[in-house]
Symmetry: C2
Subunit: 202 residues, 2 copies
Amino acid sequence: MPKIVDHDKQRQWVAEAALRVIQRGGLEKATVRNIAEEAGLSVGSLRHYFTSQAELLTFCMKLIIERIEERFSSLSLNGPVFEDVKQVLMQFLPMDEDRTMEMEVWMSFVAKALVYPELRIMTDHMYDGLTKACHYVVDTLVAHKLAKPELDLEYEKERIYALVDGLAIHHIMRPQQLPTEKIERIIDQHLRSLCLDDKAMA
Amino acid sequence: MPKIVDHDKQRQWVAEAALRVIQRGGLEKATVRNIAEEAGLSVGSLRHYFTSQAELLTFCMKLIIERIEERFSSLSLNGPVFEDVKQVLMQFLPMDEDRTMEMEVWMSFVAKALVYPELRIMTDHMYDGLTKACHYVVDTLVAHKLAKPELDLEYEKERIYALVDGLAIHHIMRPQQLPTEKIERIIDQHLRSLCLDDKAMA
């Protein structure tokens, strides 16, 4: 009887192996041979699942985005509103090992996407997601009347967006200088600065 | 008579060629052959100036840092104080072609430094410079009594630091979404938010 292999599961298995290889050695180590070895497959069968390196990398990026989306759908946002919006932002920050690994690998993709436009679709997808999250955060604070009425909303959305990405990069580059507790404190303090004094704690 | 070649100038010439190669094709295109061709030199003479790729890349990173330092030393900081500190931050942002090119190439170095610790010395050097600039900005606002007295200075320094890097990355990834005018407006607005209302305009 022929062995039945779940094609989608196998692709995911390969992509996860690729992410580990990239984290350890960067994109230049993401050769078919290295990834096949890490996945415990032959080079031939790896080529069966991914016909080009671009296809494999795009799949890896999609996998990272899916993981973030999964974390989102499992978030229990049931208040207080201030804590909920904070939780939303924290999903994009390297607060644990998984998220740190994702960010580290993602940095390589971002650098590569600067010169390979075919990878832009995925980086744009990620940036759209983070942009949406930042809009959600500001709009939710406004909708619940927690936000100071004088806020320049467009500016606040861009500011949170830049702040989140800047903190993420500084943590993965120099975790000692910017430990996760400090990231959380900065996000918390920043969000509070957008809120009416008596409302943020409610 | 033997040809006299200025060794330092020639190294700089090679590094500049390397930066162009990296900007066009990313680090993976930064091979000895490609860089020699771009510089109009033989592979042999390039090897004479740089004995390893790590040495060449480190030199390229140093070149970028030197360029930023040169821009700094030519800044005429003679007030108003608010405009001066803004100018300091703008040196780290991709406001023109040169700075955009530097940032794009730097992104590749940062991604590579995550897996090659020998490149960390240079990324640390850059991050130390940006950190120092952020401290300077906040401390100067305080020293000139422009800053709101209730500011949490340590937090404000970290926040500016993250903001500058986040804005820089978002511009090089998606210049249409975050044009330079918008970057300047965000930096301006952020700095104003740290100042006493009547002082920022002075």
